[in-house]
């Protein structure tokens, strides 16, 4: 066996060893064909061409893998953004309710007796925030859907809470 053929065999064996699983069979097939090639130089040229073919095939396999990975990450990012948006919407809504409570307390200090008035209570803590929630949901629904959903969910929970309160106490 001449030096070029030895080199060709060594090159293709290395290719078989290093090739990704999807390309390994093909590399092994090319290595096997080496035994049937007449002429050492022809064998070396065969090995060089085969190595290039496997390299291209492996590159396309890796490219497809990277593309799939990137698509998966994009999908995960989208889900994360939605969850974040819903959370942000809920936090905003709760902050508004907190502000309503705080305003009622301040008004109670400024105008004693007002805090204990039921109409002021329902107006400040229920009617105004709920109206703001509905308006915000309508305004944000198309452009900031997750945030709008978060606000709407908080509004619904509050409305449910009030309904339960009425049912139990009245």
């Amino acid at each position: 066996m001449g030096a070029p053929r030895t080199l060709a065999a060594k090159l293709l064996r290395a290719v078989v060893r290093l090739a990704p699983a999807e390309s390994r069979d093909w590399a092994a097939a090319m290595l096997r064909e080496l035994d049937f090639i007449e002429g050492d130089l022809a064998a070396l040229l065969w090995a060089l061409g085969s190595a290039a073919a496997i390299l291209r095939h492996a590159a396309s396999v890796w490219r497809a893998w990277l593309q799939r990975k990137s698509e998966k990450e994009t999908r995960m990012n989208k889900t994360g953004k939605k969850v974040l948006g819903i959370g942000l919407g809920m936090l905003s809504a709760l902050a508004l309710v907190g502000c309503a409570f705080a305003s009622l307390r301040i008004l109670g200090i400024l105008f004693p007796g007002l805090e204990h008035s039921s109409w002021a209570y329902w107006l400040a803590v229920m009617a105004i925030p709920e109206a703001i929630f509905v308006a915000a949901t309508v305004m944000l629904w198309r452009k900031k859907g997750p945030i709008a959903a978060g606000i709407l969910a908080t509004g619904l929970v509050m409305a449910l809470h009030v309904a339960v309160h009425f049912t139990l106490h009245w």
Partner: protein, 102 residues
């Protein structure tokens, strides 16, 4: 079926159409088509990925590693008959004149 039918691919399809029922080896295909391994194998890989070609390891003599062989699937045979007939001759000329891309 989306497959780039380069003159080299047409040559390979034409080689497979010769006694289509028989299994063929890579080096024999290279000799028949005149294509180097770096051109031939990517074509074989694409054809196999598109399920146009079936591959098999031939159990050879004891102690010797098996040899990879190739043959048209029924889909491949239909595809080749529809696309290779007539166009292979023209592509042969192109390859011989060095007009076709690698």
């Amino acid at each position: 079926m989306k497959l780039r039918l380069s003159p080299q691919t047409l040559l390979v399809l034409d080689a497979f159409l010769e006694r289509a029922e028989e299994w063929k080896y890579g080096y024999d295909l290279s000799r028949v088509t005149g294509l180097k391994s770096g051109t031939l194998y990517p074509i074989l890989m694409r054809l196999a990925e598109k399920q146009l070609l079936e591959t098999q390891w031939e159990a050879g003599e004891p102690g010797k590693p098996p040899r990879h062989m190739y043959r048209f699937t029924p889909d491949g045979l239909r595809f080749a008959r529809a696309n290779a007939a007539g166009s292979a001759d023209a592509s042969l000329g192109q390859v011989a004149l060095g007009l076709a891309e690698g």
